[in-house]
Each structure stands twice: as C-alpha cells, then as structure tokens.
C-alpha cells in the first residue's frame, strides 16, 4: 500500500484530518491521566489499615452536661461493652486508623529538638489495645496494665514506653534497631520503644489535600487511658458476631445511663468507606467522563469519515474501475486513519505529560508512569480503527459504476 497518495489526499483535506487528530490527542491526554489517577486511588483504597477490619466497630459517645466523673463513667461503659456476648474486647480511645480524628505530633530522637524527625499520629491505648485494634505485633511487647496512666482530654501526661509502627521505626532508625531505643514526643522526658507493630494507618487517608500524605503509616501507641467528654469506643467482636453486637450496643450503653448521646455506631467497613469517599467518587466520575469521551471521539470519527466517503464516492468508484479490490479500499481508509490517529496520539502524549505535571501536584499523587501512555495510545488507536471500520466497509462496497454515474 502506498502512503504517498494518502498523504496527498490528506493535504487537500487538512481541516478534517486536523479535527480527528485533535480529538484523538485530547482524548488520549485526558484518558491516560484519568487512568493513572484512578489506578493510584485504587492502590490507596486497597491499603490495609492494620486493624482487624471485618470484626471491629466504633461507638462515638458524648455526655449530657459537663460531668466531672468522666473516669468512672468511661470505665463503666468499657466494662459494659466488654461483657457483651460476642465481644472479644473493647476500650476507649482518642482515635483509630481512618477514623478522621486523633492527635498529630512531632517525634524526635533528641530532647528539645527544633525540627522533629518525623510527624506521627498518637493513639492512646491501654493493655487491651493490642486485642481491640487487632494490630500485629512483630517485635517486642505490648503495654502492661501497670504502665497505663490516665490521660484527660487536652492535657498531656508523659509516658515511659511507646509502641511504633514498622514504617515509623524504619524512618527513625534506618539500621533496624528501634526496639529498646529512646524517643521524645512533645517533651524532654525519654520514652522507650518497647514494641513494634506491623502496621497502623493514620486517621487520614493521605489523599487529596491532606498534608499528612507522607506519614500515612506513621503512628505510635502510647499507654494512656483516654478520658474525655467525647470518646470513641472501639469494640472488636468474635468473627460473625459483629452485626448482633452492633444491634445490641445502644441498649447496652443506655442501660448504664441514659444521660448520654450516642453519635454513631459504625462498622469499620463504613469507616473505611467514609475515609475514602472523595477518592471513590472522583474515581467513578473520572471513569464516566472517560467512557463518554471515548464514545464521543469514536462517533466523531465515524461521522467525519462517512462524510469523506460520500465526498470521494466517484474517486473510489474510479479506483475500483481501474482494478483496485474492495480490500484495497478498506485498507486505504484504515491506513489513512492510522496515520491521522498516530499523529494525534503523539501530540496527545505530549499534552498528557504536560497536564500530568499539574495534576500530580494538585492531587498530591505520583507522576503518571509511561505504561499508562502506552496503554492509552493503544486503546485510542484501536478505538479509532474500530470506528473507521464501518465507514470504510461502506466505501469498499461502492461499485465501480459509481465512477461514471451522476456525471
């Protein structure tokens, strides 16, 4: 097949070719960027939180009035929760992975350091914490009851021991000897690292505009009994007992006292969904927009090529009369389309890369990998080949007699 006659035809039909090329370029640029965003969000959403997600639910509770016996109230609630059938363990805490609330602070290797070594989330737990969160201890030990001190909301008691996540341990002690070392959190009193857990995510997902993106797995557990006017109880049930326990929990707590407000009872599944809401809806929206974009582009190609076929009806008939086979005509339109779409795709790759610079900074995501450009280009080229097939078949069906008809 000769390319030169195609080029000379295109030179006479610059605008049409330009329109198709431009559509292909924009479509490719947008689609590969969207795919990259969707894939990165999927990866974010697939990250394990470190908790025993299928068996944990939270209860957010606050009291009527400003009671001054918060410690005994919290203790009574936690005892009531622990005594429920199907409940493995429970405790009051200041926050949990993906929960949306907790303290963030700097952690340092030296006392009175101006710039902390890392920022981290603080989770307040007692000796039950390991069982309640369901995190996996990979080195050292968990806290004993004797280590746990009361921690009133808004005040800061110093602790003597801390459990780090593996990610934070690696950041602070790259040589891997975190256990037994001393760190400083918010004060000059040393805290010894007694244990390391595999993973416990921060309360935020690190997506979107969150400034905590880099520290999404930096968390510490401190042996504090959290006492506040507002508390989240975390409850872990035996496998299969989650729904029953959640159904009974309100009445169980109201039986302790009715002078309370239960703001929410949510299974971890729901907490995860809420945390990733914006990533989830943006992914869906972008996917829908991409699908629309591909459809519109395909329709555009069909329309314009149909018009070309009609315009060149006589020339096609002439070629057929001079001995060209149907398959030659089909090939001609396919090759022509490949030339236009290929040029458009090259332009699209350039636009896509430029656009990605803005996108990646705006959404705090990684740059798009080359793979997406390749996949996007293949998808768009294939789509335009499919789109051109129908008009090309119609062109191939033009009888040689068309050359002399209408004259």
């Amino acid at each position: 097949m000769e390319i030169l006659p195609i080029l000379s035809t295109l030179r006479r039909n610059k605008v049409g070719a330009l329109l198709i090329g431009l559509q292909i370029a924009l479509t490719l640029a947008i689609v590969c960027n969207c795919l990259s965003v969707i894939q990165q969000y999927r990866e974010q959403m697939a990250r394990p939180s470190g908790m025993d997600e299928s068996n944990v639910f939270s209860v957010l509770n606050t009291w009527v009035g400003q009671p001054d016996d918060l410690k005994s109230r919290t203790a009574a609630d936690v005892a009531a929760l622990r005594s429920m059938p199907g409940v493995l363990d429970a405790e009051a805490t200041n926050g949990f992975p993906l929960g949306g609330a907790a303290l963030v602070t700097g952690i340092s290797l030296k006392p009175d350091q101006k710039q902390p070594n890392a920022s981290t989330t603080e989770y307040f737990v007692d000796e039950h914490g390991l069982a309640v969160y369901g995190v996996k201890l990979i080195a050292g030990r968990w806290f004993s009851a004797a280590e746990v001190k009361d921690q009133h909301m808004g005040e800061d008691e110093s602790a003597a021991s801390v459990v780090l996540t593996r990610s934070l341990a690696r950041t602070l002690f790259p040589s891997g000897d975190a256990l037994g070392q001393v760190v400083y959190v918010n004060s000059t009193s040393p805290i010894r690292v007694v244990g390391i857990v595999e993973r416990a995510q921060s309360p935020w997902t690190g997506g979107g505009a969150s400034p905590f993106a880099s520290s999404v797995e930096n968390s510490i557990f401190l042996p504090h009994q959290f006492i506040g006017s507002f508390a989240s109880y975390l409850v872990r049930t035996r496998p299969g007992a989650l729904e029953t326990a959640m159904g009974a929990v309100r009445e169980r707590l109201y039986a302790v006292t009715r002078r309370r407000v239960i703001l929410s009872v949510s299974p971890f599944r729901e907490i995860r969904q809420r945390a990733y809401q914006s990533q989830h809806s943006l992914s869906i929206l972008l996917a829908v927009l991409c699908a629309l974009l591909l459809t519109v582009t395909a329709c555009g190609i069909v329309g314009l090529v149909l018009y070309w076929v009609a315009q060149r009806r006589r020339q096609i008939g002439m070629r057929r009369a001079l001995g060209a086979r149907r398959v030659d005509i089909l090939r001609y339109f396919q090759l022509e389309n490949l030339l236009i779409a290929g040029t458009g795709a090259a332009l699209g790759i350039a636009i896509g890369v430029a656009g990605n610079t803005w996108l990646a900074t705006t959404l705090i995501l990684n740059r798009m990998s080359i793979g997406y450009l390749a996949v996007g280009a293949v998808v768009v080229l294939a789509l335009s080949q499919v789109a051109v097939l129908w008009p090309a078949l119609r062109a191939a069906a033009i009888p040689p007699a068309a050359a002399i008809r209408d004259l």
Partner: protein, 443 residues
Amino acid sequence: MLRYSFQLALRGLKRNLALTVLTVAAVGVGIGTCMTVLTTLVGMSGNPIPDKSSQLFVPQIDVAGPAARRSSGGPDGAKLPSQLTYRDAVALLKAHRGVRQTAMYEVAQTVNPPGGRPFQVAGRATYADFFTMFEAPFRAGAAWGQQQDDNRENVVVLGAHLAERVFPHRNPVGSTINLNSRDYRIIGVLDTWLLIPHFYDLTGGGFADTEDFYIPFTTAIERQIPTWGGTNCTELPPPGWQGRLNSSCVWIQFWVELPSAAQVRAFRDFLQGYAAQQQQLGRFHWPAEVALHDVTDWLVYSDVVPHEVRVNSLVAIGLLVVCLVNAVGLMLAKFSGRSVELSLRRALGASRRDVYLQCIVETTIVGFLGGLLGLALTAAGLAVLRALLDLGGRDSVSGRLAYLDTQMVVITVIVAIVATMCSGLYPTYRASRIQPAWQLKVQ
C-alpha cells in the same frame, strides 16, 4: 430577510436530519456533562456575601514562627496560622478598631428535650456584632446586644433547624432551651441560612452547614466550653482551662468590618504595631509577620475549592472541547454536502452575506437545541449525582451545590449557543466561500 433565512435554515436542518441530530447530540452531551460538573465548581466558587465581601477582614498573626510552620510540612507549610490565640483575639477585640468585630469559635452541646432522647448540636460562641456583620437572617426575635456580651448572659439565638426540631409549630422566642444541663433564654431564631462557602470559619471544612445555635463568646469562655473546631499548638499548652486561654495554641476565628480603604490601612498599621509590640514583650523571637484578608481573598488563600473538584472540572471542559471539535467536523460535513444548494442560491442572486446569514441562523438553532438537550442532561446528571452521593435537599449545603439555579440555566444555554457558534465559524466561512459556477459546472 431574517425570517426567510430562518425558514431556509429549518429546511436545511430537516434535509439532513441524521447529521443535525448528531451535531445537536454532540453539543448536548458536551454541555450536559460539563455543566453537571461545573455546577459544583460554580457553587463552591461563589461569593457568599457579595455586598460586604470587600468590607469584612480576617487578620492573621504569625504566632507559630517560620520554623514550626515549615516542619508542619505539606502545601500549607508556608502559610500563617488561620486562627488566633485567645489572648490576641481578646486584645484585638478590646482595641475596637473596626466598625464591628467578633471573636468566635465552634462549640458542641447536648440538648436534653423533655421526654426525648438527648442529642448533640453544633453551635458558635460569638459576639453580638456577628449577626449584623454576616447578615444572619432572623425569622423571629433579634440578636443580643453588647450588654449581654459584657454580662455573660445565658441567651441564645437558635438556627432554623434546631428551632423546628425542639419547638415544632410555635415561636420559641422567650422560652428556654437546655444545653449541657444549663438553661439559656431564647432571644432570636434564624431563618434557613445557607452560606456557601461557610467562609467565616473554614476549619470544619469550607462547606459545612451553618450552626444550630449561637451563644455569647463571653458566656462560653466563662462556662469553659471547649472548642469543637480545630486547635493548632506549636508547644504543649499549660494544663487546665486558664492554661489553654494563655497558651500559644490558635483556635479562635476573628473578623473585623472595615468599610473604607482608610480604615483598612489604619487597621493594617494597628495590626503590625500590635504584633511588633508582642514581639518586644518577648512572646516570639522572630519577625512578627501579619496579614489581612477580605472575604474573596480569604477563600482563595484558604484553598476552599477542593482539588478534586478542579480536576473534575478540567476533565469535563476537555470533554466539552472534544465534543465541539466533533461538532465542527459534523457541520463541515453538513454544509459541504449542501454545496449544490448553496451554489444555486448564489447563482440565483443571493449575496455571500445572505448565504452566510443562513448558515449562522442554522448554527444558532443547533446551538440552542444543543443547549436545551444539555440542560436536560445537566438536570439528569445532577439527579444521578445526588442519588449516588446521597446528598441533602435544596436547603442543605451539600444538596444546594448539586441543584441547578436560574443563573446556571442561563449560563448553560448561553455557553451552548456561544460554543456552537464558535465551532460553526469555520464551516460557515467555508460554505460562504463556495464558487457557484465551479460547483454547478461539476454537477
């Protein structure tokens, strides 16, 4: 002449119905998708208080210091704290440099209705000036005055939602409501108050609903009601309530009303002077940086429109452009297919201008039809969004951002017509350049 063109255009549209429908569909889908997404962007970027947005100001004082701001990391690292310490807020308030000013913070209280289960409501501790400054709409009663502020009285202004919940079918003004086991006298009730964005306090997200109740700031401080909003500390606050008040933690929003440019300048100088004086007193050992933003400026500075929405909008605009490029191709095909007819008109004496007019009228009709289709698709798209995202009704902020208002309807149709006319420019130009003799000869 125009009427004749119109008739010809209609005839032309009908002649090649398939192409016309395709063009209208291309424009309609582009407009519909784009406007569905842009409705949220336009809603979020709106001016919440148009007539006063250049008179209300938020002051910022760098109590954190450059080092602490850098270490907090993230894209906000370079910004000054968005709130004030209690000490600074009270000092600025006492200085009374604006026509009106208020210090405030978000609070949460439990309502214990007789016979019902207690529930929690979000409120705001603020000063009397708040209601005038932010044009809060009253349904009944009125705001409290300076006297109530000074005497730390137990008065409350209810939001429409809470008033309807606790006092259905009657005017609550004059009654009392129990918040955290304390009685407050209801002196006013607000109407439904939609504020988009929730500009006077962005710490709870830019698109929060307005509060359920408002109590005097002084009363809340005396009652030691903690903030329900964000608190930022660069060092540990001393223990206790008094420690919190004296600390360098920021948790108070402050607004001042300055109607004239001279007043703005004077306030800026005063603020600079105040910060310098605090620095001399040894409160901080870095150059005292200050800033003053009006409402529009503040919304931009605080990055109130989520990045996700901007990305959506850009992709949607990209889709619209592709649709329009598509429409250009289709119209080009349509006019070229009619070159014989147009040549005939030219040969029979129609001027180039007449042909041009006919094509433009045709394009405008396509644009208008595309706009109508786009409008229908926008309405459908928004309905899908509301159902998918489980948004509230028209009287909630989340719901309002996904409803078409008159302004958006007009914008949609205008955008559709303008966009179609732009994409019709080249095809129309080509059509009017037809050489009648040549076309007729070939045929």
